[in-house]
């Protein structure tokens, strides 16, 4: 909100004084309300909030829905959220009485801004490369993503190597640039083509398992042919050092998912399955693996069975996220398609907000409308998953990027 203000021609001293006075007045008003849902700064009653929004309904992001929610934002963060909150008279509030709000979308699987490729593919084991090192924080593709409501992106190395590298997480700014908030994120693995390929170890899922299990023990599992690419000690050391924590595993088929969970889970890592575009064959078997799932690339051209996969997984208790995956895909369209094919409303918003944030291990920073989290908020004229819903207000890091009363 501050950055959105036009530069004032008035002298700085006058501006400061006016601001102080108006803040004091606001503070008095706030103090008069006992429930104080908008008591923006309990620690600093002299200071009022940057932005207060009242909406008809709020999807918090974790599956709960608040009616008549009053959301207070200050210094780029949510300060308070209250159901049926009252706002004291005189406090400037943006009211969207019939509108539906949700957190800014989190797209967990992208390669946005990774120009020049996201796969260091001469080797199968590149656990030590980092997607963040290739990320252009001013990339031209960020602005359209922001315009589509995505405020946090996961940057993953491409699925071209069995041990692909480290993910990164970036949040978008109101000006269309991005800031990396997690530079060395979860390790990313790929147990599907093109990581399984004909000119390099391995060419099978079984080989990928053997290679990873050997590497976790610090062994090379090399080709024995002369001239085989030497395996870097650093790569083996990086893999041998992985003993716990989250991991992301690109898989397509159910069997690849099984091997990913057995191999990475067997090591003590907590894998999230990413992709799963051939897993529609047996959602029950995927659910039985007990791993969170990110279904990627859903589009209008996909089969009914694939579009129903998020619903089938959610029905069996799997924490499902959606991600755009491929460039040019719309996360909101993926959400619309998944809901149209049975994804329950209670799982819909979490699938594009809190759950992907948890997958990226940044759920304490983004993905919900909750105090102290980054203030990324979308207000729609209807449900976020309805293609007909229009964006009425978009707040990114506490700043308004779009407002259509």
């Amino acid at each position: 909100m501050r950055a959105a203000r036009p530069a004032s021609p008035t002298p700085a001293i006058w501006r400061t004084t006016t601001r102080a006075v108006s803040r004091a007045a606001l503070a008095l008003c706030l103090a008069a309300v006992v429930a104080a849902p908008v008591a923006a700064r309990a620690d600093d009653p002299e200071r009022a909030a940057d932005l207060i929004v009242r909406v008809g309904r709020l999807h918090v992001g974790d599956g709960t829905v608040l009616r008549g929610a009053v959301i207070v934002i200050d210094e780029g963060r949510f300060v308070s959220v209250a159901e049926d909150g009252t706002v004291p008279p005189g406090v400037p509030v943006r009211v969207f009485a019939d509108a539906v709000a949700c957190p800014g979308f989190v797209d967990a699987v992208t390669q946005i801004g990774l120009d020049g490729g996201a796969a260091e593919s001469p080797e199968a084991r590149t656990p030590d490369v980092r997607a963040a090192d290739a990320f252009d924080v001013h990339h031209r593709d960020l602005r359209p993503v922001l315009a589509a409501g995505v405020t946090t992106i996961g940057l993953l190395p491409a699925p071209s190597n069995v041990a692909a590298g480290r993910a990164a997480v970036a949040t978008l700014r109101a000006d269309g640039s991005a800031a990396v908030i997690e530079r060395v994120g979860a390790p990313v693995f790929a147990l599907r083509p093109p990581a399984l390929r004909a000119d390099r170890v391995p060419n099978t899922i079984a080989g990928a398992r053997a290679l990873l299990e050997a590497a976790f023990e610090g062994r090379a599992w090399t080709t024995s042919g002369e001239g085989a690419v030497a395996v870097r000690r650093a790569a083996l050391d990086a893999l041998a050092g992985m003993r716990d924590g989250p991991a992301l595993a690109y898989v397509s088929d159910v069997e690849e998912a099984r091997v990913a969970v057995e191999t990475l889970g067997g090591r003590g890592l907590s894998p999230t399955l990413v992709g799963l575009r051939a897993a529609w064959k047996d959602p029950a078997a995927v659910a039985a693996l007990g791993a969170p799932c990110v279904v990627t690339d859903l589009s209008l051209n996909d089969s009914e069975a694939l579009l129903s996969l998020p619903a089938e997984l959610a029905r069996r208790g799997v924490g499902v996220s959606l991600a755009s995956g491929a460039p040019g895909r719309s996360l909101r369209m993926a959400l619309a398609l998944a809901v149209a094919h049975g994804l329950p409303a209670k799982d819909a918003v979490p699938a594009v907000t809190h759950r992907p944030a948890a997958v990226l291990d940044v759920a304490d920073r983004v993905g919900r409308v909750a105090p102290s989290l980054r203030a990324d908020l979308l207000v729609f004229s209807g449900e976020p998953w309805e293609p007909s819903s229009r964006v009425l207000l978009s707040v990114v890091g506490g700043e308004i990027t779009e407002e259509r009363p």
Partner: protein, 407 residues
């Protein structure tokens, strides 16, 4: 007090009954009684009329409780056991980036939802054992499956032993070339490039496992050691005479027993194979018109019968044709030296025994409930499948159509 005790006892009985019912429901298995069917035991015995019941996934040669299945003129036979199902892979069929992959488990190469499993089950094949393909000198370990389930996939057989599968002949060397330019450019840039290279690599591996020469690279030798200690079965796919002779020589050199697979020219070395009582998984009998087989072999229609007569234990396989063609292989055998009962045993109890699945492939008290009801003798082309039961669960049921196909 007495009344209370009685009530308690009643409660216990009811609870026990309820829990039994729940266990059976969870189990998902069916109770069936095949009434007055012609029973083929799969062990070579003559057909006989009888009643066979299925309960809790086991067979009993007596009547029992459950759904009664009686179709006039029907035959009940054990489900076929495909000992070398080589078509049901998900993607690549071998980890070809190495030549010796003893630590590769076929379970991670198989697609349990592969349609060939289902089609095999439809043609009476209830068990499929899958080796890694013969593109590697040592492909890895076999995996055994119930061919299909109501969940729409093949199910791994718990506790089934895993054989180490290796290959002689041209399959592991075909297309390979020496690595060039200091970098691997293809999975074919590898050893071996010739037939002799295949034997040479196998010999090195076993000698390394015995500690008689250094181990190549970081190869994991424990599976070879288990073979040498007699704790793991070894399979050699060998088709041509020189490969069979090579397998015999190597086995003698390093001191191992093996099951021969393929064995297309086995008739030419049948005395040597028979003298060792070498088990043979014979087939598939491919081109019966020209007599030309894979690996440049000259096939003989009576090959399986000649091997059996020489003393080999002979099972039949449809190999890379797919499990649904196993029935046809047994039919061929009845033309060339096998009785129907012998041919049936060669696709049921014998391959089951060779794969260490000793309770399968037969109709006997306590055997696994993998049975198929046929409208006539299963090895007659006119017979149709009426019901397939795998692991005590009905997979296909066409008994409503009767033996005449509902006409």
């Amino acid at each position: 007090m007495r009344r209370r005790l009685a009530a308690l006892a009643c409660g216990v009985v009811v609870a026990a009954l309820v829990s039994t019912a729940l266990v059976r429901a969870d189990d998902g298995r069916d109770d069936l009684v095949f009434v007055d069917v012609t029973v083929l035991d799969g062990l070579g015995g003559a057909p006989r009329k009888g009643t066979v019941s299925v309960r809790g996934g086991k067979l009993a040669l007596a009547t029992g409780k459950g759904r009664r299945v009686g179709v006039p003129g029907a035959f009940l036979a054990p489900g076929f056991v495909e000992a070398a199902g080589r078509t049901v892979y998900l993607r690549a069929d071998a980890e070809m980036t190495r030549e010796m992959t003893a630590d590769i488990d076929a379970a991670d190469l198989v697609d349990p939802r592969h349609s060939d499993f289902r089609e095999g089950a439809f043609e009476g094949c209830t068990t499929v054992v899958v080796p890694p393909s013969a593109r590697n000198v040592v492909g890895g370990l076999t995996a055994s499956y119930h061919a299909w389930s109501p969940e729409g996939r093949a199910v791994p057989i718990a506790g089934a032993p895993k054989a180490l599968a290796a290959a002689f002949g041209q399959s592991p060397s075909r297309g390979n070339f020496p690595p060039r330019y200091g970098a691997t450019t293809s999975i074919y840039a590898r050893r071996p490039t010739t037939r002799m290279g295949v034997v040479w690599m196998l010999r090195q591996a076993f000698l390394a496992a015995k500690g008689l020469q250094p181990a190549p690279d970081d190869a994991d030798l424990r599976h070879y050691r288990e073979v040498l200690e007699g704790k793991r079965t070894l399979r050699f796919q060998a088709r041509a005479i020189q490969d069979l002779n090579g397998a015999l020589r190597l086995a003698d050199e390093v001191g191992v027993q093996f099951i021969a697979e393929g064995v297309d020219e086995g008739y030419r070395v049948r005395d040597a194979l028979g003298a060792r009582r070498t088990p043979a998984l014979v087939g598939p009998l491919s081109d019966i018109r020209t007599g030309r087989g894979p690996d440049g072999t000259d096939t003989a229609l009576r090959n399986a019968a000649m091997l059996r007569d020489a003393g080999c234990v002979v099972a039949l396989t449809a190999g890379d044709s797919g499990p649904r063609w196993l029935r046809e292989q047994a039919m061929f055998a009845t033309r060339y030296g096998f009785t129907r009962e012998q041919a049936l045993a060669a696709v049921t109890s014998i391959p089951a025994d060779l794969c260490g699945l000793t309770a399968r492939g037969r109709i006997a008290d306590g055997a696994a409930a993998d049975v198929v009801l046929w409208s006539g003798h299963p090895l007659l082309p006119s017979s149709r499948m009426l019901m397939v039961v795998i692991d005590g669960r009905v997979i296909f049921d066409r008994t409503g159509e009767g033996t005449d196909g509902g006409k």
